[in-house]
Amino acid sequence: MASPETPVDVHSAAAEQAHDLAVARKDILRIATAGSVDDGKSTLIGRLLYDSKAVFEDQYAAIERASHGDYVDLALLTDGLRAEREQGITIDVAYRYFSTPRRTFILADTPGHVQYTRNMVTGASTADLAIVLVDARKGMVEQSRRHAFLASLLRVPHLVVAVNKMDLVDWSEDVFEGIGDEFTAFATKLEVSDVTVVPISALLGDNVVTRSANMPWYQGASLLHHLEHLHVASDRNLVDTRFPVQYVIRPQSDAFHDYRGYAGRVAGGVLRPGDEVQVLPSGLTTTIAAIDGPDGPLDAAFPPMSVTVRLTDDLDVSRGDMICRPANAPQVTQDLDAIVCWMTDQPLQPRQRLGVKHTTRSVRAVVKDVQYRLDVNSLHRERDVSHLGLNDIGRVTLRTTQPLFIDDYHRSRETGRFILIDESTNATVGAGMLTPPRH
């Protein structure tokens, strides 16, 4: 073993610079990737981590020891579980962290095979951007189409198609353009507003962090440059005020005898003291007296801040209630119409009873109807289906025991989603995205 290393000179200019970069005020971009070992997904992530210096020497030494062949297998950086290393596959979502001087990245690394659709949905659920990997030699295949579809279904606002292994097609512009056209044709069926196609070689690093010298015909930015400069501020809904009450804070101390605050995370809109608000389900209106943030009173709160709201009037408000604006309230309903991704072996079928968690509200529901199942490869709607099986996605109607305060998932990701829970096993068995009410 090496002798203890010499200490870092914390007074050096380099250390000072490193400090300033580390504490620089940056935002976070959440990325989801999907793919199997063959796509070079693990190699791409290894490359992003390694080239952005998120890999430490002891980690690198460990994979160097474990690598066979001529080069250090960067894919080994990402395989976490014993079974994954033994079988050479990715089973579950793994989260990776790296940052550049401009931005911090949280990357959800998910498996690509159809039997792991639920893991992909899990990874994409929190993402700002999804990277779909395409092998330049194979072009768009079933799996790449499925990944793009799932990202659009989950309303991931930005999509990057990374055409990988360009080194194996002689850096051919024609091959790249062909795949780009193929994807564009497919994407017309999807609802994605922002698509970028980048030619890369994850193995050799071309266009991952720095621009490739091998593809002078490509005028766009490298993948990392794109991730760093992407505009995400307008992705959130700052229009529809939604504040699901999570927890009621009552200190019951002498100093705060009359304090009664409603804690929660802002799901949409901007809340300000003085705003007239409505509380659901009571429908009563009042005004916001004050908003307390983690460090004291605030003049505004917006997503995804966790704050405590105090109201002018002493109303009966509890967990699961929703604070909104009188002129802009969510739909109050017991009837849910949603696209559901089913995540367990036991099928979802009519008359089944399930637990539902929507914002901070937990209710029970009965399945009324399975309207259709989506073929995730062809996007074809199969009607006349009796149930949804594991990893199936379909449109389902449910009736809940209590009203929920819902929005269309397209408009508000936070109030348009729910999970389904099997009340006997307590497992999370489904993810639902509410669709617009039919007229």
């Binding site: 914390v10 580390a22 005020r25 579950d92 927890y247 917006f302 999970i419």
Partner: protein
């Protein structure tokens, strides 16, 4: 009333985002779980977690107790810090004592002197005795490959075991903390924080930390390339020379197993500079207990470890 010092366009900085996410998780568990408890070791991560809990419920008190699994091998500075912090917050402290468990015959001392493994049954016993249903831990996903795969809400069976192949899907921020009687969940509010985020937050919030984290001259011995400060648990063996060196601790575990690193960082700002240019992970650099194998953490978690 003041505007929050955010980025332009109503965007939060990374620390504001992480803080909001952690507070959401803490409140969700307090609202839904019958009897939560926060694991507090006196290390930097649990110090930050406790501070976030304070903020989550202010101006009320933290609505759950704090538990320390006391291996009996603590740095005295850490115990002192623990007691001071708990008293200041007015929270209840539960101590699960490994020496008591050894005396009662519940666990047996391991030949190598490490109590890392035997603290798990002591933790599980305390959970059962007190009926805890949710345990907050300060683990972060950037620490280890197995941790990178664990959910924020990590379901454990009645033996506290983690089944990595059968984790509950975790969608959006809709956490499912439902359990049957006897089961529990481990909740990791700091899942998405990195080591540098923790230090950045300690600096930004001016959070007090035990002095062990800062460099000072200490008497040390060199064991297989790692520096151990001489204390009541580390005495020089035959042939070992004691020398004085400016060192600090990057992690604070058991005093008989946690190595120090050569450092001249005497302030939090300097610690951040040091970590930002250092090329070794914190566990790789200082924890003898994680070096056993590539899957050491995965194996311990399956047995009920955090």
């Amino acid at each position: 009333m003041s505007p929050l010092d955010t980025l332009p366009d109503h965007r939060l900085t990374q620390l504001q985002t992480l803080e909001a996410e952690s507070i959401h998780v803490l409140r969700e568990v307090a609202a839904e779980s019958e009897r939560p408890v926060l694991l507090f070791s006196g290390g930097k991560d649990s110090i930050v977690m406790l501070e976030l809990a304070r903020k989550a419920f202010a101006p009320a008190r933290i609505p759950f107790p704090v538990m320390h699994v006391d291996t009996g091998l603590n740095f005295p500075e850490v115990l002192e810090f623990r007691d001071k912090r708990v008293a200041a917050l007015g929270v209840e402290l539960v101590v699960a004592s490994v020496p008591d468990a050894i005396a009662a015959g519940i666990v047996r001392e391991e030949p190598n002197g490490s109590r890392n493994r035997i603290q798990t049954p002591v933790l599980l016993d305390a959970v059962e005795q007190h009926g805890f249903t949710a345990l907050f831990g300060g683990a972060r996903r950037d620490e280890d490959k197995a941790r990178a795969k664990e959910r924020v809400f990590s379901f454990r069976d009645e033996f506290g075991q983690w089944d990595p192949k059968n984790q509950r899907p975790e969608l959006w921020d809709l956490y499912n903390g439902r359990i049957h009687l006897g089961e529990s969940i481990r909740v990791f509010p700091l899942s998405n924080w990195t080591e540098l985020d923790i230090w950045g937050y300690i600096a930004q919030e001016e959070i007090e930390i035990p002095p062990l984290y800062l460099a000072q001259e200490r008497e040390v011995v060199d064991r297989q390339g790692m520096l151990y400060a001489v204390n009541e648990f580390i005495t020089p063996k035959d042939g070992e020379t004691v020398f004085r060196e400016s060192v600090r601790y990057r992690t604070v575990g058991d005093a008989n197993l946690t190595a120090a690193v050569r450092s001249t960082a005497t302030t939090v700002e300097q610690v951040i500079a040091e970590i930002a240019v250092t090329r070794l992970t914190e566990r790789g650099a200082t924890r003898g207990d994680d070096k056993v194998s590539d899957a050491a953490m995965e194996d311990r978690k399956k047995e009920g470890y955090f």
